[in-house]
Symmetry: C2
Subunit: 321 residues, 2 copies
DNA sequence: GTATCTGGAGCGTCACTATTT
DNA sequence: AAAATAGTGACGCTCCAGATA
């Protein structure tokens, strides 16, 4: 910066003003400074700025795993949204117990201005201390006044999926649920139960996987032989379920209908192409970043719930007669 | 830090030594300082340290897209390896032309110590200026003395896949290649050609997708009706190919055998479960981080090529008689 | 002399105050 | 009087040289 100031014939202070877009700079001076910056390929030093201002223009992302396609998609959306707003994105994977707390510690130490947490609502609620100095947005969480929540309306999506199957004439809809600790899994299960209850149908015992396609395959072995409709809590488990049904010679959708959740890119290529509930990951990621930037700026941060949409493909049909 | 020093009754300098694990500290003093740190919940201020030392203990990752499962897996592996070594990880997605250069600029400005680049070899080679002050590791690239290369031996994997199909008795093996700009795609295509040449078989014109399952589906429509074996450059395109074959009523593996590449987690759940070439993403990510840390430390950084392994599942069989 | 510790300077930036036009 | 610019110090840390036991 000193070099730029010297070349432009101004003080470092004026360079700082130009860099930060202060209005109190003479246009001619500004041009001169800008030319000098280009000439020297000057880049502001973020660490120095951070030391001085206390802000790093960096946001952190805490994610349990990137093994699920949904989390990857969220990361992608958040990275894009953060870049657009001039924020760097630091990623911390927090797997295992106490990991969220560790992830926070790591981010806090690194001095991020705020953090977005994916899918860790349960762990958070269970006594992880939320650093007060850190702006926080949690994606998919029960409401909590310690942070802003941005989410998909999982229950609504699950109701839509279940209602679709019931409308096709299925007498019962089984559920392949997500893992016990997950808020999204709980909400999707709730929506399924609600839709069945609204139709006066008793909910059968749900199968329970861990989001992975392998778990979907393993667990679907326990699906009753007379089941005609299965709603899986995500697309990957639905993929495993499709294979399990093929293993036992049950045709989809002729004998069993299957619905997923997420509308992952590959879902349209499954055999058969999967009817599923589409989450708008890009909008969700953008909303999470927007809410976080708002919270960093001292505002409240806008909470949001996006309603997902059912996408009908070839894995659902009326039950066999 | 000043507070810690005051409580422990030492100078700030001594606190610094304790934090940085200097051996020249009396054990009793160290204990005293550590107690004070705990008491005050002291965290070193990374920005201040970075300003002073010129190092940020942060590495950057430049990735074109996280839409492919392979890239997501690499990110996951790199994040874990970086965390283990005490480095923060900043992710930049660089899509489109000039994006890699932009990504570098962004990372450089943010002051990362080094960067890992995924899948951008072609763009890099095409005149992106590599900042000299930045340690650099590129995953999957032709050799280049501007950076360290860590890679899978794609050609060897492709040879193994093709040889497997030939050994089953197929008279020809078609190829569903990756996009034109990709080094990995080119290497896999080369391995396929080499294996065919070694068997004295002329290579048919390859189909060409963009890594996505949708492209695999679209492009496989052009597969000749008499084809009995297809080697796809990644698992997701193989998934699309499986559906395209099902569309036209060709049984896999009875009429057509299909091999993929990557051994993504879902590949074992495809219909049928996919024979594929397994990349060890975790080892590759760990090697990339190790090489980068070496390069940051002033060393040369160890280049590496991992040989992938064929995993036989149910999508390959002898050709129909 | 060796082991341990202290004091002071300065990294690049920006908020504040002072000065000039 | 208002607009534009300059000078100064401090953010928290670590390096260097020197002091103390």
């Amino acid at each position: 910066m000193a070099d730029v100031a010297a070349i432009a014939g101004v003080s470092g202070q004026t360079v700082s003003r130009v860099v930060n877009g202060s209005p109190r700079v003479d246009p001619a001076t500004r041009r001169r400074v800008e030319r000098a910056m280009v000439e020297l390929d000057y880049r502001p030093h973020r660490a120095a700025r951070a030391l001085r201002t206390g802000r790093t223009d960096t946001i952190g992302l805490v994610v349990s795993t990137l093994a699920t396609v949904g989390n990857s998609r969220m990361l992608q959306a958040i990275a894009a949204a953060a870049a657009e707003r001039g924020f760097a994105l630091t990623v911390v994977t927090a797997s295992g117990r106490d990991a969220v707390a560790q992830g926070f510690a790591r981010l806090h130490e690194q001095g991020v201005d705020g953090a977005i947490v994916l899918n860790e609502a349960t762990a958070l609620a269970r006594g992880v201390e939320v650093p007060r100095s850190l702006a926080l947005v949690v994606v998919d969480s029960p409401p909590d006044d310690r942070y802003v929540v941005v989410q998909t309306d999982h229950a609504a999506g699950a109701r839509a999926a279940t209602a679709h199957l019931l409308a096709l004439g299925h007498a019962a809809v089984h559920h392949l649920a997500g893992p016990a600790g997950s808020f999204a899994a709980a909400e999707r299960e709730r929506g399924w139960r609600d839709a069945l209850a609204a139709a006066g149908i008793a909910a059968p015992e749900p199968l329970r996987g861990d989001w992975s396609s392998a778990s979907g395959h393993a667990v679907t072995a326990a699906l009753p032989a007379d089941a005609t409709a299965l709603f899986a809590a995500n697309d990957q488990m639905a993929l495993g379920a499709l294979r399990a049904l093929a293993d036992t010679g049950r045709h989809v959708p002729g004998e069993v209908s299957v619905v997923g959740f997420d509308d992952v890119a590959d879902a349209a290529q499954y055999l058969p192409p999967l009817t599923t509930v589409r989450q708008d990951f890009d909008a969700l990621g953008a909303a999470a970043v927007a809410a976080l930037v708002g919270a960093i700026g001292g505002g409240r941060g806008e909470p949001l719930a996006l309603t997902p949409v059912l996408v009908e493909r070839a894995s659902t049909a009326p039950p066999p007669v």
